[in-house]
C-alpha cells in the first residue's frame, strides 16, 4: 500500500516537473557561445607560443661551436699565431672569497627542513593538480 502510494507520488512529481519544463536561455545563446569560442581561438593563435630563438638557429650554433672547439682541440698549433693580450689580473684576488665560501656551513636541521619543505610542496602541487583535474573526469 505504502509502496503504491510512493510510486504514485513519484509519478505525480515527475508529471508536475515535466509539465513545468525547463528554463529558456536568451535567443542568442548559441551564437554567443560560438562567437566566444571563435574569439578564444583567434586569441590563442595570436598568443600562441613561438620560441624567441628558432630551432634552426640553435642547430647552426651547435655546428659552429662544434667546428670551433674541434679546430681548437684537435689542431692547437694552428692557433699559435693568435696573440692574446696579457693582462695583470692579480687584483681579482679570490682567495679570501673562496675561504669564506669554504667556511660557510648551514645547520643540518635547516638543510633537511628546506629539503623536506621542497619535497612536500612538489607533492602538494601534484596532488592538487590531480584533484582539480578530477572535476572534469567521470569514473
Amino acid at each position: 500500500m505504502e509502496k503504491d502510494e510512493n510510486k504514485a507520488l513519484e509519478a505525480f512529481y515527475k508529471e508536475m516537473i515535466q509539465e513545468a519544463g525547463l528554463e529558456e536561455p536568451s535567443t542568442g545563446f548559441t551564437a554567443s557561445v560560438i562567437s566566444k569560442i571563435q574569439k578564444d581561438d583567434q586569441k590563442a593563435e595570436i598568443f600562441s607560443y613561438r620560441p624567441l630563438i628558432p630551432r634552426y638557429v640553435w642547430w647552426v650554433s651547435v655546428v659552429l661551436l662544434g667546428i670551433f672547439f674541434g679546430y681548437t682541440f684537435l689542431e692547437p698549433e694552428n692557433l699559435e699565431f693568435v696573440s692574446l693580450p696579457k693582462w695583470n689580473l692579480d687584483f681579482f684576488n679570490m682567495d679570501r672569497f673562496i675561504d669564506v665560501l669554504n667556511n660557510f656551513k648551514l645547520p643540518d636541521t635547516l638543510v633537511y627542513g628546506s629539503l623536506s619543505l621542497a619535497i612536500f610542496i612538489s607533492l602538494q602541487a601534484y596532488l592538487l593538480k590531480t584533484h582539480w583535474n578530477k572535476r572534469f573526469v567521470i569514473e
Binding site: I17, L22, F29, I34
Partner: protein, 187 residues
Amino acid sequence: MSLQQDQYYIDKVINGDTNAFSVLVDRYKYMVYTLAVRMVRNNEEAEEVAQDTFLKVYKALPGFKGDSKFSTWVYKIAYNRSLDYVKRLGRIPETTLIEEYAEHNRTNLVAAIDQFEIDERKETIKRAMQELPADYATILTLHYFEELSLKEISKIMDASPDTLKVKLFRARKRLGGILKDRLQEKI
C-alpha cells in the same frame, strides 16, 4: 540523446569544425541553463555560467573519453561551474535543511495543484523550485525531468546514491510543502 548521435558532432568539433559545436550547444543549453538558474538563482548570472560551461566543455572535449554519457559529463561541468560561481561570490549554497514538512498526501497535492490554471501552475512550480535549496532543485530536475537514475546523478554531484535518495525524498517533501503554502496564499 544517445552517445552515438553526439559522438558524430564531438568528432567533428575535435577535428576543428567549431560550428558543429552549435548542434551540441542547442541540444543541451536548456538543461545546462536550468541547472545554472537553480543553483545561481539569477537569470543573467545563470546565462553567464551556462555559457562558461560550454566554453569549458569545448576546451575539454578532446579529453572526453566516452566512459559516461556525454550529457552526464556536460551536466557535471555545469554543476561544478555553478557551484564555483556561487562560492566565488561568497554566497553559501543552501543545502540540506532540517525538515519541517511531512510527506504530503498525494490526493491533497493533486487537488491543490489542480486549483491553478495551466500557465499559472507552470509558473508556480518553477517559482517553488527556485525557493528550494540548490541541491534539492538540482536533484529534482535531473531525476524527474531528465529521468536520470540516482547512480547517474551521483556522478554529476559527487555524492553517494544513498545520500541522494534521502535528499530526493526531502526535496519532494519540501516542494510539496511550498506548493501547499502557495495554494493557501491563493485561497
